[in-house]
Every structure is written in C-alpha cells, then in structure tokens.
C-alpha cells in the first residue's frame, strides 16, 4: 500500500459534469485539506472522498492536528494562463503540531454529504513535525491546473 502519485478524482469530476451535477464548489472556504500517511493506496478512478476507503483510515493524528484537516484559505479558481483552469489557495499550516509520517494531502469538499475528494497531492516522502509547524506551500502555478485549450 502506498501513495505513488498526485491526481484528481475522476468519478467525482464525472459526477460534476454529468446529470448528477455534484455540487463541488472550489470557491468555498469550507473545503478542507487532510493529511494521510503512506498506508493508503489511492485509486483516482474509484475513490470518492474523505471518510470512504482508503480515506477512512490512516489519517495522521497528533497534537495540533484535528481529524478532518484544516479549512482551505483564500481559494481561487481562475483562468491562468489562457486556456487553463487553475485552482489555488494560500498556504496551509498546522502550527505547534506533532504530526508523524504525513505523506499526502487530500483536498475535499467538506460541505457535501460525501465529503467528495477534489485532489490528492503526494509529498513524495514521509514528513513529521515535533511541536512545530507543518506547512504546505502550494505550487506557485496552483494546487492543480487543467489545460482545456
């Protein structure tokens, strides 16, 4: 079991775009970022979201981290560059935390009943804090982009 890649949740994006009209709103500050260990095995084709396998276990725990993760801050969804959809947010951080072996971050729609996954970002290795700050500096080009044109 392991995290080997970052990605978006295909099933959810299908439900956003088809008759299901899944109401994922990337502009919401109720969306959250949760940290998981490398004991999960993501499947971007079938995974649905927080609280459903594999995201119903192996979330990090510890001082300064609340189950479910932290709310996103200042989310934006824009066209940047031309023809490209960009989702971005300000850095996420857990201060005065003792977190062990965080391997990835799940961004999900906490306001929806299904806590539907938006994207998963793989850190590439396990990282731990000790009474310190765990910071995710999202890429300058955005959390994710979809080049459409």
């Amino acid at each position: 079991m392991a995290v080997t890649a970052s990605g978006l949740f295909v099933a959810n994006f299908i439900d956003i775009l088809d008759g299901t009209q899944l109401a994922v709103d990337l502009s919401l500050t109720t969306n959250k970022v949760a940290l998981f260990t490398n004991s999960i095995t993501p499947n971007f084709s079938t995974d649905t979201g927080y609280g459903a396998a594999p995201y119903n276990a192996n979330e990090v725990t510890g001082t300064g981290y609340t189950a479910g993760g932290a709310a996103v801050a200042s989310p934006t969804i824009t066209e940047s560059p031309t023809g490209t959809l960009k989702y971005d947010m300000t850095d996420s951080a857990w201060s005065t935390s003792t977190i062990s072996n965080a391997r990835c971050a799940l961004v999900y729609a906490d306001a929806l009943a299904g806590n539907n996954g938006i994207c998963l970002v793989n850190f590439g290795a396990d990282y731990s804090t000790s009474a310190g700050t765990f910071t995710i500096q999202w890429a300058s080009g955005g959390v994710f982009t979809i080049s459409l044109a």
Binding site: S6, G7, L8, I99, A102, A105, C119, V121, N122, F123, G124, A125, Y127, S128, T129, S130, A131, G132, T133, F134, T135, I136, Q137, W138, A139, G141, G142, V143, F144, T145, I146, S147, L148
Partner: protein, 51 residues
C-alpha cells in the same frame, strides 16, 4: 542545508531534500516541515482532423 540563529536568536538547522521539502530542527527538539507541493497538472487533448 542552512544553519544559524533565527529571529528569536535560537539555533536552527534547515535541510532541504531532493523533493525540495524542508525540515527545520530548532532548539527544544522542535521540528518544522515545509512542503513545496507539486502542482497537479492535467491536459485535455483534442485532435483536429485535417481534410
């Protein structure tokens, strides 16, 4: 790797790994982590047929 004293005058040692993520060890066994998250980039591909 960088080391020295921070703005509070406390010693620190910051190590950036090959993934460009940084672990900073500070006085009192404090350890911070800064993840430089990769961008998740997807491209939709369209093909135009040429007559």
């Amino acid at each position: 790797m960088r080391e020295g004293r921070d703005e509070h005058g406390e010693r620190f040692k910051a190590t950036t790994d090959e993934l460009n993520n940084t672990i900073t060890q500070r006085a009192g066994d404090r350890q911070d982590v800064t993840i430089r998250a990769p961008k998740v980039a997807l491209t939709a591909t369209t093909h135009e047929l040429k007559d």
